[in-house]
Amino acid sequence: MVPARFKAGERVKVLKSFPLGHVRTPFYIRGHVGEIERLCGSFPNPEELAQMRDGLPAQPLYRVRFRQKEVWPDYRGSEQDVVEIEIFQHWLEKA
């Protein structure tokens, strides 16, 4: 199991990377900065599972909270609106 590098409340940036294959990091959030909401546990890496490999060591998975106004510059809702997304640790770096 890969040790967890981030704690709740820390600011993180999603990698702006475009690998081929089965990736669970939505396009719209790549390159954006958010805040760790919680660590969800560790799970086999889906990018590896999709290639019929075991996905081990398991990767820490986080719920990351993003402000909608930062994700969509023309967002028309409230300043307080957020989107929370599950993102694996290997897609995150310290912001």
């Binding site: 939505p26 998975l61 909608q68 028309r76 989107v83 929370e84 599950e86």
Partner: protein, 201 residues
Amino acid sequence: MKDRGTYRPLSYFQLMEVTLRELLVEKGLITEEQVQREVAAMRARTPERGARVVAKAWVDLHFKKFLLENATAACESLGIEIPALKLVAVENTPQVHNVIVCTLCSCYPRVLLGIPPDWYKSRNYRSRTVREPRVVLEEFGLKLSKETAIRVHDSTADMRYIVLPMRPAGTEGWSEERLAQLVTRDSMIGVSLPTPPGSRV
């Protein structure tokens, strides 16, 4: 033009399902009976399960705390098996409204809500709920004030989400069973609120 009556050829995915199932049975990997059993079990899971959990959380504060901390364990304490995934319950309050979507495919808390409605799997709902949630909710008839923050949950990996809606006013002293009848599927996805008491047909 030939009149084919109501006959329609199988779609690509229907054909794929039949072919794969027949092959698996023919190779002795599964039996027809197992398939039928699984389909029956899938159909038996309905939103009433989720409603039971919500109603319990409305009347029992300890259970509500347990549910928000660890929804998998809380549901299992009610005898609801949660296989191979983690359940997260998110609470609506006067300040925060939660709504669930899966932009990548159609991840859904089937174990509590059963088979997802078609709109949940549509490209329209999946793309617009993260982009303009207030507009989408208004199309469902839910108009929230600007003071209420919207928290969209994109169910991208191993968690499954269920919304714990607010208990409707005017239900003081109601039993769990009676409360559960107000908890709709859509209110647990977050696109509507529970049925107000007295308006049930």
